[in-house]
Structure formats: C-alpha cells, structure tokens
Symmetry: C2
C-alpha cells in the first residue's frame, strides 16, 4: 500500500471517488462538482490563489484504492490551524485491508508534523460501527455540539437582511 498527495492528474479519479461516496450515502445526484472546480480549488495555477482543499490518494498494487480529502480549520484557543477530514472513502473492492485506517493515521502524522492541535471529522450519530472504530483510534465525540447551516434561498435571504 502506498499513500501519496494527489496531483492534478488525479482529478478524474478524485471526482469518481466523490461520486462513489455520494452513491454509498444514497445521494447520487448530490455531486455538482466538476473537474474544473477541483482543479481551481485544489491545484490553483496562480500561486496567490488559495488552495481550498488537500487530498491524499491510497494505492494498492499501484491502483487507486481510496482517498482522503481535507481542509484546514482554525482554533482561536490554540492559536493554530487544525485538520478537518471532509471525505474518506475506500473503493468496495479494496475494503477490509486497513486502507481507511492507514489514511487516518497518515493524516494524524501530517497534523503532528504541522503542529496542529486537532484532527477532526464528522460521523452520523446512528453509525455505531464507525463511532466504535473512531473511539478505538483515540477520537472523542463532541457530543454536545450540533452543526448549523444556512444555504440556498435561506442564505440569499439572510444576506439581504
């Protein structure tokens, strides 16, 4: 198994992974992202343009097996950025071989190397097998916190208030 940072040439594969993950989450039509979006946001050609996400590719026998896509958070208590794992996915054909765990530990090592105080992600509250797995890896659940989101017409409306 090999884990490496994604490059521009991985964009079609990354989009395939994103769509496979959406299918797994039973939201196959939710993916509006295009290859051009991922190029602009993950691999900006202008050096002054912000890199909006980072991505790792896991390979098994030189075939793409899974990916981890993350961005940086900020903690005003720690005075330092952290890592937020947005997407973690292993293709069905490659499951049960520790690839998901290898991606998580690789990201933990990146977090430590960058001096990040926190490595975070989200889980569905009914996905007990995932929660148990994450607990085993040393993660704690932020049980009292709930995410709030404004989007779509409600966001347009709030902006005009």
């Amino acid at each position: 198994m090999n884990i490496r940072p994604a490059t521009q040439s991985d964009i079609p594969q990354i989009l395939t992974f994103i769509r496979e993950l959406a299918l797994y989450e039973r939201e196959p039509d939710a993916v509006l992202a295009t290859e051009a979006d991922l190029l602009r946001d993950g691999f900006p050609e202008n050096e002054n343009a912000p890199k909006r996400f980072h991505c790792l590719i896991a390979e098994l026998d030189e075939k793409p097996a899974g990916f981890a896509l993350y961005f940086h958070t900020y903690s005003t208590w720690a005075g330092h950025h952290g890592i937020y794992l947005e997407d973690l996915f292993v293709s069905p054909a490659f499951r049960g071989q520790g690839i998901g765990k290898a991606l998580l530990t690789h990201l933990a090592a990146i977090a430590v190397a960058e001096g990040c105080p926190r490595f975070e992600w989200s889980v569905l509250d009914w996905n007990q097998p995932a929660i148990d797995f994450y607990h085993q890896m040393g993660a704690l659940m932020k049980s009292e916190w709930r995410g709030m989101r404004v989007s779509g017409p409600a966001l347009q409306s709030l902006a005009r208030t």
Copy 2:
C-alpha cells in the same frame, strides 16, 4: 454601527475578544493563542503564506463592540468553498442592539458574494435560545451529525501507529 474587516492593528482587541468569549464559556484558561500566533495566521506578511482565518470587527460609536472570526470549508458535493464561523462574540456592554445578527448577515452577504453554497457554525445542543434564534435566521440543524476529534497525546499516538 459599522462592520469592517480586521487589520493587523486589531490583533490585541481580537485576542481580548477571544479571551472574553472563553470566560463566557467558563474556560478562561483555555486560550493559549498569542498575538504572534494571530499575526502569523490571520495577517501573514509573506504573500505565499496561507491566511488561516478571516475576521470582522463590529464597531458602535467607533468603539470595538464585537467580532466574527471565520475560515473556509470545502464541499466536495458543491465543488466550492464555504464559510465556517468559528467565533462570534459581542461584548456584554454592547448586547441587545442587534450586533450579533448584523455580523451574521454581513457574513451571509460575504458567502453569497464569494459564491459559497454554505455558511455554517456550531451550537451547544442545550442552548435553545441560540438554536431558536438561528432557526429564525433560516439555519437548519445538522441533527444527525456529530463531530469527532483526536487531539493531544491521542493524536501523537495515532500518528505513530
């Protein structure tokens, strides 16, 4: 009331706000951030260094009354960055005058202007007055999702796995 982007000269005030917010959350000793941290991460002098957070200052009668500190998320479904509000705080002396709401609507307008599909933040599940207020503003709760976090010795340990 005036809302403007923070500048380098606001750093002492931003740190004061961060500490006041931690005190309000009954965690006065949780703030390890220094002015140097906020300078490096929010106002990097090297143009190639990433800007880790953004900050708005609300002023009333030309006095600093509150702040909103945010960073950018990434949605692989939308193929676009979003806005995450990490800290929102209005000094006790300036409350009840709509400053918190003005900061939220200002941020919603920034999100719309940048083409962000989502404007998000977190709330404590027992803070019903806050939840009601956010619902009134058009926000939805991501009820099924829980945040997971690895930090401290557990993060060091996971990184060495």
